[in-house]
Amino acid sequence: MAPFHLPWITFGAFLVLGGTLILAFVWALVDLVRDRKDGS
């Protein structure tokens, strides 16, 4: 059983949301680093 007594398959929606937030931050960071490398 996942947190809040939810089945994992339903709780997965929260995991996807968390993963999406991490994806956005990581993509922005990678893009920034790539841009700086291209600039130098």
Partner: protein
């Protein structure tokens, strides 16, 4: 009642003031249609959220949560991952660069430049324009219904109050007024949704108590896909998530951002802001426990609001719902007017207008389209109400693949792009109309729950891929210009 009036008057007055301020900054067609490509990341990102989530999403999402339970959280997660973050990462930069290289201010204008295809421009402008008006009617209807339930105002007055304010600031201030008001509206909408969720979670006893209580009503309200079933859940999630990739009122945010480096910060802001997509579904499920006896699922959110919020909270929530609707309506209005003037009148019919006359034509057109939408929304004919259910399917089936392939596959054939639009729309419409056409055999039970969007986009995808392999690619100069290599 007096509290509602105070909050709304202050709020609507502020929007009108933004329209007045921005009118001085809309000096050319480029300013009016895409804000002169000068908008920063915060305003771009939050106005994207506001244009994406209309009052239909808040009230309708709550209704889905009430009816189908917590499996609907997947719709919210799909909105954030596919409809927002991946859209920004995959489409953002290329749309920004290509539209600047091609000097395109509209999506049909992009098709004309990228493919050198006048027929793709006209078809996209006509199909998108028509179905966006129908979509706008549903947005106005959603706002008026909220006024009706939360303030006991007659339906027509809700249509007129919200319609007139939007028409004013859009026709006067153009795109800049639309994005700046949308920015404010996104903040109001997010605050309202967070407040309602917090208060209703407290009332129900927390998240674990909610799950336990839903389980006693029906375990299908806690499981995925639960009472909804996979066909309905996946179809709906795709249409309201992947569908956004073909929606011009959202894509225009990429044309208008100041430069493509700003998309970086914008992607982070928009992902955080869009996360509120989960909340209408969650509060809808809470409403199933707290207000189980409703004559219609659409009453779930208004009824919950009345139960858990005081007058000030209720007024803020109404402002949030109205904000969601207004920002979507205004965003659509500016898209239709610039498309009708630039794609149909000037480029399609070959009429020459001076820059000043073109700007004036855009203002008049936005006013005219708004008035038409408003009049239809006052008493929507039955056909319009039927069509609103698949306006997104038609618009996305028209634009999704020709845009994506046009950005990533140089070889994509103009004929294939055009036929992908045509067959995608035809397939989506035929699929949706199928149950109403008595002379066709009934669909098998497993297929009946699939939305026309899935059928339309699948057909469109097949046609564009096969057509590109057998057809001729676009002219070299069109491709080079789009990619900025000449």
């Amino acid at each position: 009642m007096i509290v509602y009036i105070i909050v709304l008057v202050v709020y609507l007055g502020m929007l009108a003031a933004i329209g007045m301020v921005m009118s001085g900054r809309s000096k050319s067609v480029g300013d009016f249609a895409i804000g002169g490509r000068s908008v920063g990341p915060w305003v771009t990102a939050l106005s994207f959220v506001a244009a994406y989530y209309s009052s239909v999403v808040i009230i309708g999402g709550g209704a889905f949560g009430w009816k189908f339970g917590l499996s609907t959280l997947w719709v919210g997660a799909g909105n954030v991952l596919i409809g927002t973050t991946l859209a920004w990462i995959i489409l953002g930069r290329r749309v920004r660069r290509f539209t600047e290289n091609l000097d395109a201010m509209t999506l049909p204008g992009f098709f004309a430049g990228r493919y050198g295809s006048a027929e793709a421009r006209i078809f996209s402008a006509a199909a998108t324009g028509l179905f966006l008006i129908i979509y706008n009617v549903s947005v106005l209807k959603g706002m008026a219904n909220s006024f009706e339930v939360l303030m006991d105002l007659p339906y027509w007055s809700g249509v007129v109050i919200s319609g007139v304010v939007i028409l004013f600031y859009t026709s006067v201030g153009g795109y800049l007024a639309v994005v700046w008001t949308s920015f404010v509206q996104a903040l109001v909408m997010i605050a309202a949704l967070v407040l309602l969720t917090f208060m209703s979670l407290q009332k129900v006893g927390g998240m674990t108590a909610l799950v336990d209580r839903l389980n006693t009503v029906d375990p299908g309200l806690v499981n995925t896909p639960g009472v909804w079933g996979w066909a309905g859940l996946i179809s709906f999630t795709l249409i309201v998530s992947l569908g956004t990739w073909g929606m011009p009122q959202l894509l225009v945010r990429f044309y208008s951002i100041k430069n493509d480096k700003m998309l970086r910060l914008g992607t982070v802001i928009v992902t955080v802001g869009a996360s509120v997509a989960m909340l209408p579904y969650l509060t809808g499920a809470i409403a199933r426990v707290l207000v189980p006896e409703l004559s219609s699922a659409d009453q779930a959110i208004p009824a919950l609001t009345k139960l858990v919020l005081n007058d000030w909270g209720g007024a803020l929530f109404l402002a949030g719902v109205v904000a969601a609707g207004m920002s979507t309506f205004a965003g659509v209005l500016i898209i239709i007017s610039s498309s009708m003037v630039n794609d149909v009148w000037v480029n399609g019919l070959g009429r020459t207008l001076t820059p000043a006359a073109e700007l004036k034509a855009n203002r008049v057109m936005s006013l005219a389209v708004g008035v038409v939408s408003l009049l239809i929304a006052l008493k929507p004919p039955a056909l319009v109400l039927v069509l609103t259910a698949f306006s997104w399917a038609v618009i996305a089936s028209t634009n999704l693949w020709p845009l994506l392939f046009g950005l990533y596959w140089k070889r994509t054939s103009p004929k294939a792009a055009y036929w992908s639009m045509l067959t995608g729309v035809a397939a989506a419409l035929l699929w949706q109309a199928w149950p109403r056409l008595g002379w066709l055999p009934d669909l098998p039970a497993g297929l009946a729950g699939i939305h026309g969007f899935v059928v339309g986009t699948s057909v469109g995808l097949l046609v564009i891929v096969i057509g590109t392999f057998v057809g001729k690619p676009a002219k070299r100069e069109c491709v080079d210009k789009a990619w900025g290599s000449r």
